[in-house]
Symmetry: C2
Subunit: 249 residues, 2 copies
Amino acid sequence: MRAHSLATTPNLKCEDCPIRHRAVCAKCESDELRELDGLKYYRTVPAGQTVVWSGDEMDFVASIVSGIATLTQTMEDGRTQMVGLLLPSDFVGRPGRAQAAYDVTATTEVTLCCFRKRPFEDMMRRTPNIGQRLLEMTLDELDAAREWMLLLGRKTAREKIATLLTIIVRRDASLQLMGRDGPLEFDLPLTREAMADYLGLTLETVSRQVSALRRDGVIVLKGKRHITIPDFDRLLEETGDDADGGMLT
Amino acid sequence: MRAHSLATTPNLKCEDCPIRHRAVCAKCESDELRELDGLKYYRTVPAGQTVVWSGDEMDFVASIVSGIATLTQTMEDGRTQMVGLLLPSDFVGRPGRAQAAYDVTATTEVTLCCFRKRPFEDMMRRTPNIGQRLLEMTLDELDAAREWMLLLGRKTAREKIATLLTIIVRRDASLQLMGRDGPLEFDLPLTREAMADYLGLTLETVSRQVSALRRDGVIVLKGKRHITIPDFDRLLEETGDDADGGMLT
DNA sequence: CGGTAATTTGAAAGTCATCAAAATGAGTGG
DNA sequence: CCACTCATTTTGATGACTTTCAAATTACCG
């Protein structure tokens, strides 16, 4: 069964890699890139499949090339909390640690650019550009985690949903360029249950609050997953964050 | 008023520093330490005072030498969430960022070992040992943040209190050595309100749950702040985490 | 020994969870 | 192409847990 999950994929050359300028390799020079090219191997995981189980021996680290994965923690009685949402260019695994601390699950089909841990750690020691970039990325993740803590600890269910939607919109925006003002549209990459695990809610509450935002005209649904946002500032007001909506200071 | 908060203190020599082996300088060689010695200046902040306000220009980074500080986020309507608890050896500020992202407040009197940001960043570029140590520390903080997210999103009020108590006990243990089995004792370094901000609760709920744990014999109070834990495994069971209590596998 | 901040306690209300069932939708095979 | 099945989502009714508002109590400081 190991063989199944280790499906490999032909490697892309680093120069053509879509995450070349955002991933852990972003600061690497061309000679460093060549070395990475020799270490790496691609691996594709189908939607829904677990990449690593918490506690498992983990002999590789990886960058997400495409697709979406989640980090989750589970309590003994089954309560689960998502603690990371991994997008293209995000890093999986921790140099210097043998066992995975969280479950990593592919939400969509995911392609990983993997490095065996030992060789990667060795190279990191010799290559400041990698460690420096990983530090930047980790600091960004820590900031994101702290925003998330505010959401989990202090926001209402409605604010949580609105905030999650703005996060998804911003993510889409950072990947694609898009018209600033027109109505925004996107597909939810998460099930209601995954949204609930992200937000510290039940899936029923998620469903109810999504419906409420729809009733109030903050969002428009086409099907269950496709969302249109007629007025982004209106959505922002619902998040509880800086009501920076009035821009006429 | 700036002068007030900039009270300086005579520097300790790095060799004699109590956080020498845990702080951002932990991996530095003696020559590197000498250079840091030239950059650093001590600063002491009285209990209750804010060190930096979120959004402020921040021209230094620092290590906590002694005392306890908190990182908090505040929403417009006043809801606040603690997002970091800073103990001796913890790092304050982010290299490469001009403005503080959070409020930093001294819970007890705090002594900081400060470095002006620009010189520190310059040295970091030249000194891999600093960046490497900062990466380790940031990864640890990220793990802690993720545990915290599970607490905020999924634990009950009672479990939250029990978990916070174990965190404080473990912290004390990591600083001092202590008898493994006897009843543990310590002073709460946080007010009920600070505990509430940590846990995403109201201070009333904190008070009630502390009283409930006392009634149930999980903890013993002497005064409001001094706590004795007669049976640590019993407390662990209350956290909702791995009921690893039964150690007779 | 007051005075103020911190903490506890009480009563009522609200938000979200839980349990249950219906509705919707996607994929499969006839 | 449609019926069927299973997973996902919605909706409803009820209740638990936590918050809110208020007041009493305790502790700390000068």
